[in-house]
């Protein structure tokens, strides 16, 4: 059976169940790379120029770890998933960039996914990609239908049951029976929202287990996935008029939503060198200071980030929130 490798980076957290279902229905075996390690990040960084963004370096590290373990690597070019809202240049050039910096990479299965094209054209692109695996069109169509169903189930698991993408994937593919709702916390000291790209929030190596650390400090943690997409979109529309970036909801949408006073503090997690982040987080920061409801902190992650620095900032943030709460309860 043909083995298809999927790097555990970038769009993985958003679409892994969809991709896995699709390829399994086509009769392939899906191999995903292991969670990020220090070595992977170091290997990835060596291949690209220094100015490349952190998630890009992580992605290359994952592709490198798949070399030799699979027959194809699946690297979709996700141009646009909403009408006239586009992704950043790194996503658009991802497949070509991988080919350039990792010449030993197995053949790349790629598809230029652009929702602005006609529906038949999108299907045509999918058929063309699947032709490499020599399966007939009827079977591809079936696989697409099954993937769409899985996608809806995945979103529901995250929004309704409060699972993180990692937990939801485990539940869906039978690794664990029951995921724990990360929003449930007996007697939390503070409720904190993390906003940012899901490939930063759920990559434990890259973010130094920020989610677990907050939970360990007794905080109730919310993330963008726990809000239905329509609500995030409406917040974006209210703040900006329309989305500019594909990930606008995860940052500006979730930021605007959580800053509405329903939570004690918001932490923005951004990647060093991320173009869209620099603009989106600025919008959130401005919104936070205009509202004055809840404190907002931005953590920029990069490959040299020392753990101690992150811990100190988290502790200070939580202490500040505790003080704020004490003051308001006294007054």
């Amino acid at each position: 059976m043909v083995r298809i490798g999927i790097p555990r980076a970038l769009a993985f957290y958003q679409y892994y169940p969809v991709w896995r279902t699709f390829f399994e229905k086509l009769g392939a075996v899906v191999v995903s790379s292991a969670p990020t390690t220090k070595q992977m990040l170091a290997d990835g960084s060596k291949r690209v120029i220094a100015d490349t963004c952190l998630p890009g370096k992580v992605f290359m590290g994952h592709v490198l770890s798949l070399v030799g373990n699979c027959d194809y690597v699946f690297i979709p070019v996700i141009r646009s998933v909403k009408p006239k809202v586009y992704n950043c240049a790194k996503f658009l050039g991802l497949a070509d960039m991988t080919r350039a910096v990792i010449p030993e990479c197995p053949p790349i299965l790629e598809i230029d996914f652009d929702i602005n094209k006609r529906k038949e054209k999108i299907y045509e692109d999918i058929y063309r990609m699947a032709a490499k695996l020599s399966v007939d069109r009827a079977r591809v169509k079936e696989a697409v239908t099954a993937s769409i169903k899985v996608n809806n189930e995945y979103r529901r698991l995250m929004a309704d049951r409060g699972l993180t993408p990692v937990q939801a994937i485990d539940v869906m593919f039978g690794k664990s029976v029951e995921g724990k709702d990360i929003r449930v916390h007996s007697n939390p000291v503070a409720s904190i929202a993390l906003i940012g790209h899901n490939y930063l929030l759920y990559d434990e190596h890259v973010n130094h287990r920020i989610l677990q650390r907050l939970q360990g400090a007794g905080c109730r943690v919310s993330t963008p996935e726990m809000v239905p997409e329509e609500i995030l979109q409406s917040v974006v529309n209210k703040l900006l008029g329309r989305s500019y970036w594909t990930s606008e909801e995860d940052v500006v949408g979730a930021g605007g939503y959580y800053l509405d006073g329903r939570i004690d503090g918001v932490i923005g997690v951004t990647a060093f060198g991320c173009g869209p982040d620099s603009l989106m987080i600025d919008t959130v920061r401005r919104h936070a200071s205009n509202l004055g409801n809840a404190p907002f902190m931005n953590l920029t992650l990069e490959e040299h980030t020392a753990e101690a620095g992150i811990i100190t900032r988290l502790e200070a943030f939580i202490d500040m929130i505790k003080r704020r709460k004490r003051r308001t309860s006294c007054a």
Partner: protein
């Protein structure tokens, strides 16, 4: 209403012509200076590129002069640039200026859209006036580019360094001041002749270096520390593909007419195809294509990009792996860049190109003998 636009090379000259003909109150922001850059840097969000910082600096300085309407390129599906107008307007409001930033859709390729913006801003001027203003503005833009190309050629060959730059400055002023076609044509002729009369070393075969990369840093000399003049001093002939007239033609004005023109960009895209199959926003696709296209034709290439530019980073990652080889010097431009550092890099690069050429020639001779 006082209208203003950020600087990009000589773009203010055709714009001034257009707005003056429409009797609009047009504020030219002070020339890009250290102050412009400092202001822009101070009020920019972290991690943004030098085009954002400089255009923001221009807007602040224009607002200080009373401008209340800024025209800025924008749109979707390009790079971050499409988002800039919105953020810059917010920054201006935070600073207390009641300025509006009008977006000009670069991505939509709608000539009509641009005309409508101008018609609206000019307080419903008659179409005849708008179109004649446009025509004259475009004429000036084209003439400026013709002169610039000539200057690039003469700079590398002139016997007294700096002569071409002096004539160029006079020419720009004369074109700026020209009030009608007759004066403009006369000025063009005069300065082309003057450039031609500069004593030149006719025998010399200067190194030819192509300049490519992101359009703003290529077209705005302040942001690239006058790299073309510096190369001219080193006796290098500069060629480039991106000129203001071409950039605006392709992006803003004649999108609808594009298919009737010989499209240079198509050739560049075709060259890039084996390495980068699609447009990634900005000029990333073009950078890869130009590297492939000009290897073997030029002695070397200088790739200019703003620091943190997303498309150019992708392009640079891909460029180093192409089969077609040519020396490329990538320079990331930002507010930290210093002139001596850049000149050292240019000198080293030019030395390398000279040695390569000598080696090629000696190889040729040994082959013949």
């Amino acid at each position: 209403m006082r209208v203003s636009t950020p600087h990009m090379g000589n773009l203010y000259i055709p714009l001034k012509t257009l707005f003056e003909r429409l009797d609009m109150d047009y504020v030219i922001p002070p020339k890009n200076s250290q102050r412009t850059l400092s202001l822009g840097t101070k009020y920019s969000p972290e991690g943004l590129c030098i085009p954002f910082k400089l255009t923001l600096g221009n807007m602040i300085e224009a607002a200080e002069l009373g401008a209340d309407t800024m025209i800025m390129a924008g749109g979707y599906g390009i790079c971050r640039l499409g988002n800039y107008a919105q953020i810059q307007e917010q920054v201006l409001h935070d600073l207390g200026y009641k300025a509006e930033v009008v977006q000009l859709g670069v991505s939509e390729n709608k000539f009509a859209g641009l005309m409508n913006v101008v018609k609206h801003l000019s307080g419903d001027a008659p179409w005849v006036k708008i179109i004649s203003g446009f025509r004259f503005g475009i004429k000036k833009m084209n003439v400026l580019d013709i002169i610039e190309r000539e200057v690039q050629r003469v700079r590398s060959r002139e016997k007294v360094k700096g002569s071409a730059n002096r004539v160029y400055e006079q020419a720009v002023n004369a074109i700026d001041e020209a009030g009608d076609y007759r004066i403009l044509n006369a000025a063009t002729k005069k300065y082309l002749l003057e450039l031609n009369n500069i004593p030149q070393d006719k025998q010399c075969q200067p190194l030819v270096v192509g300049i490519m990369g992101e359009f703003f840093v290529v077209l705005e000399p302040f942001s690239n520390l006058d790299i073309e003049k510096e190369l001219g001093k080193l006796g290098v002939e500069v060629r480039r593909n991106t000129y203001i007239s071409e950039w605006t033609n392709f992006n803003l004005l004649f999108g609808a007419l594009k298919r009737f023109r010989h499209d240079k960009n198509k050739e560049i895209h075709r060259a890039a195809m084996p390495y980068l199959k699609c447009d990634i926003g900005g000029d990333g696709w073009e950078s890869v294509g130009e590297k492939v296209l000009y290897s073997g034709k030029y002695d070397g290439l200088i790739h200019l990009a703003p620091f943190t530019c997303m498309p150019e980073i992708v392009a640079q990652n891909i460029m180093s792996s192409t089969k077609e080889q040519i020396p490329v010097l990538t320079i990331f431009c930002d507010e930290q860049m210093g002139k001596p550092g850049m000149i050292t890099r240019l000198e080293a690069f030019v030395d390398l190109l000279k040695r390569r050429r000598q080696k090629e020639q000696s190889d040729l001779i040994s082959l013949k003998s």
